[in-house]
Symmetry: C2
Subunit: 211 residues, 2 copies
Amino acid sequence: MAQMRRAKKSRSRVLDAACKIFGKKGYRDARIADICRQAGTNVAAVNYYFGSKASLYTEAWKQAFEKDIIPDPPDAVDATPEERLSARIHALVRKFCDHGAGGQFTRMYLMELANPTGLIDDSWRELIEPRRRHLIGTIRDLIGSAATDEDIWFCELSIINQCRALLMLNRRDLEYLVQQPLTPGLIKRLADHITQFSLAGIHAIRTNKNK
Amino acid sequence: MAQMRRAKKSRSRVLDAACKIFGKKGYRDARIADICRQAGTNVAAVNYYFGSKASLYTEAWKQAFEKDIIPDPPDAVDATPEERLSARIHALVRKFCDHGAGGQFTRMYLMELANPTGLIDDSWRELIEPRRRHLIGTIRDLIGSAATDEDIWFCELSIINQCRALLMLNRRDLEYLVQQPLTPGLIKRLADHITQFSLAGIHAIRTNKNK
DNA sequence: GACAAATTCAAATTTAAATTTAAAAATACG
DNA sequence: CGTATTTTTAAATTTAAATTTGAATTTGTC
């Protein structure tokens, strides 16, 4: 069983490379040859360890999920809804901006959003649902009881899609738009902006409902 | 030259089919065979009329642009910035929701966003730039002179990305989220929501800058 | 160190799609 | 009509990528 050690290295190098390449190119455009070059193995390694490109993809998705999605720090018991929303937005923006080493899941998430392969629908639900419920709970606290489910759903869309913004922009487009590199400082300022913008938005809806 | 008549039919059937299929599948996943089946021609028609799949793509892009992007009604001279923003958001949401017959450009826009082919960068800039400047002008009017370029850029991102929301959701995801079909009524309510949310957001930034 | 199992490799095969070809059919025009 | 041009067709070719193969190598175990 000790040969597992060396073997595991190879298998896991392929898996790491797969996360990176699938995240960068999406399922179709990712080449097994590229993945294996990246991993420093022969192309046959993919089929040897995973059987096919498709099942490598689902494995990579799972691994990226497990490694990348560190649970958000639990809310402090005495956090206000405003603080909870802010924390959530900052976490989302940071996550969505992280196209680098740690952020493979995020890239894969986007690629799957844009070109659904349908290969990972099950893991998808499991993953998204609890986080969605958490955000909706926070919005509900902020928006008050006069709001309808539709109001809450719309606010959720507004917030999530603002955070997703940078996901959709490639480096060139980004430079074209902002004229500055994506530094941690910029990311923080963007998250602050979205928080402020969204709190005002939610508050306006609340006020409108109660008038 | 009268043979052009019949010929044009064939060429233009291919172009129409290309808009539809490229819009549905994106560049890579679209099959020339599918496009030609749709158009009722032989596969060779693509290379006969357009030379290659790539140049069919750029032609289709141009045609979808010309047919699909009806210029927004010019702003009434006496429209307030609030009214202009509202009109712009309603136009964007309506456009982005139109996945049907008239909305091929929208679909191609999304596919290009998600998987840039780089084939249409030039047309892209031409198309987006004037509309961008218009929106930025409106935001500038609303946000006041204390705001920085970065503030304005952030607000632009917030607004555009809220409008893009429905672009990213396929029918199944949508039903899962809202539990209702995408009726014109829903689209209007969503645009109203985004307008209200965004005006409040911009106003909050303005207030914050001036304090 | 020798044998068995696991792994890696380069090369062969398969598959799917775009592209080209050359012959047939349709059309235009004198 | 007859011939020249354009268009369409089915089939052949090319290309790019995934997958399979079987031999060579490495590793683990006795």
